[in-house]
């Protein structure tokens, strides 16, 4: 058997992560259901007309509704939202993965882009 080296360095970087477990999926079920519904263009249009009404349709709590209205991606992760799913909210409101990611890092988009290799592309 080949020895694996990478990541076994105790000085190596630890990655801060929120693993999407069954328990988190249950906690975020309504929020994720709303987000996933946005694969339908008619639903996207309905969402954009009245976000609060759309959140009521999916029976979101007041706290969950606030996360949606505020585009609080960090809060969504904490509430059981899954990034692949809440990205559909970002898509619906004209945002994208880079902007969502910068927010979760507590950075502006420009600050985040400055952390990427100089030859970095658009995503």
């Amino acid at each position: 058997m080949t020895a694996i080296t990478m990541g076994d360095d105790p000085g190596g970087q630890m990655v801060d992560m929120t693993v999407f477990t069954g328990e988190r999926s249950m906690a975020g079920y309504r929020l994720n259901k709303l987000s996933a519904s946005l694969i339908d263009p008619d639903n996207r249009a309905e969402f954009l007309v009245d976000e609060h009404a759309y959140c009521r349709r999916f029976e979101l709590t007041a706290e969950e509704t606030k996360l949606v209205i505020d585009r609080d991606w960090t809060g969504m992760v904490a509430a059981g939202g899954n990034v692949y799913v809440f990205l559909k909210i970002a898509a619906t409101v004209g945002s994208n993965l880079l902007e969502v990611g910068a927010e979760m890092r507590g950075e502006t988009l420009d600050q985040f882009m400055a952390t990427r290799p100089p030859q970095a592309g658009s995503g």
Binding site: M1, T2, I4, T5, M6, G7, Q13, M14, V15, D16, M17, T18, V19, F20, T21, G22, S25, Y29, N32, K33, A36, L38, I39, D40, P41, R44, T74, V77, N82, V83, Y84, V85, L87, K88, I89, A90, A91, T92, L97, L98, G101, A102, M104, R105, G106, F112, T115, R116, P117, Q119, A120, G121, S122, G123
Partner: protein, 275 residues
Amino acid sequence: MGQIVGGIGVSHAPSLARAYDQDKRDDPEWRDIFESYKPAAAWLEALQPDALVMVYNDHVNQFFFDAYPTFALGVAEIFAQADEGWGKRALPDLRGDTRLGWHIARSLVADEFDPTICQEMVVDHGVYSILPFLMAPPWETPIVPLAVNVIQHPLPTARRCFDIGAAIGRSVASYDDARVVVMATGGMSHQLHGPDFGHVNPDWDNEFLDLLESDPAVLCELDHSEYMRRGGAESIEVIMWLAMRGALGSAVRNIHRAYFAPMLTGYGLVCFEPG
């Protein structure tokens, strides 16, 4: 008897879809990446496969958490492109190979693997972001898609992914005379949530590529947590590459390999032939 004539492991990423749609082939940031797919595309064309088995993951576009299958095998005449929230891209639907699909379904279940069988299935960027680079649309070669849960834990183990690939290899061997390529997609290192959004680990990704070719048993023994702490939580997708490796048998020849990590995700590519 059928033959697995090649295997491809490759990263999928929405950024690749955008680069393709915006035709960034001459953009200095993308030129080398676009070029790296060309030898793979030429090799794949020369192989003249009769079908592609496509191991990938759905990003909550076909399946939702009301019923999320661990393995889902698509058996349909047509697989439409998913609208992931941004609208569909200007690409055709994919053709399915129902005869091979049902054959694989029967042999997997007989072999004690129990996928959900799907007669309607939309396919998302897990396939669509990378396929145009490797095969020019419209796609004549039919596919049999196998979607793997790499999103909602508990996930299948790395070993299980390798083993289901080996079972697909046995299934193809018991089919009639057909040339089949197994392709597995999945981002290498990447983390898409939280304060470490953007984590990539090129050293680990390259070590994975080495081991995938020479000693996949080591990779089969790694826990999900070991993958995730090296490559980030979302990098667990890379265990799907083991299904491709499992389908190819004990030894492989490397035909082409490339790796870039320009932004959010390790873009890896390997092309193997059996033996």
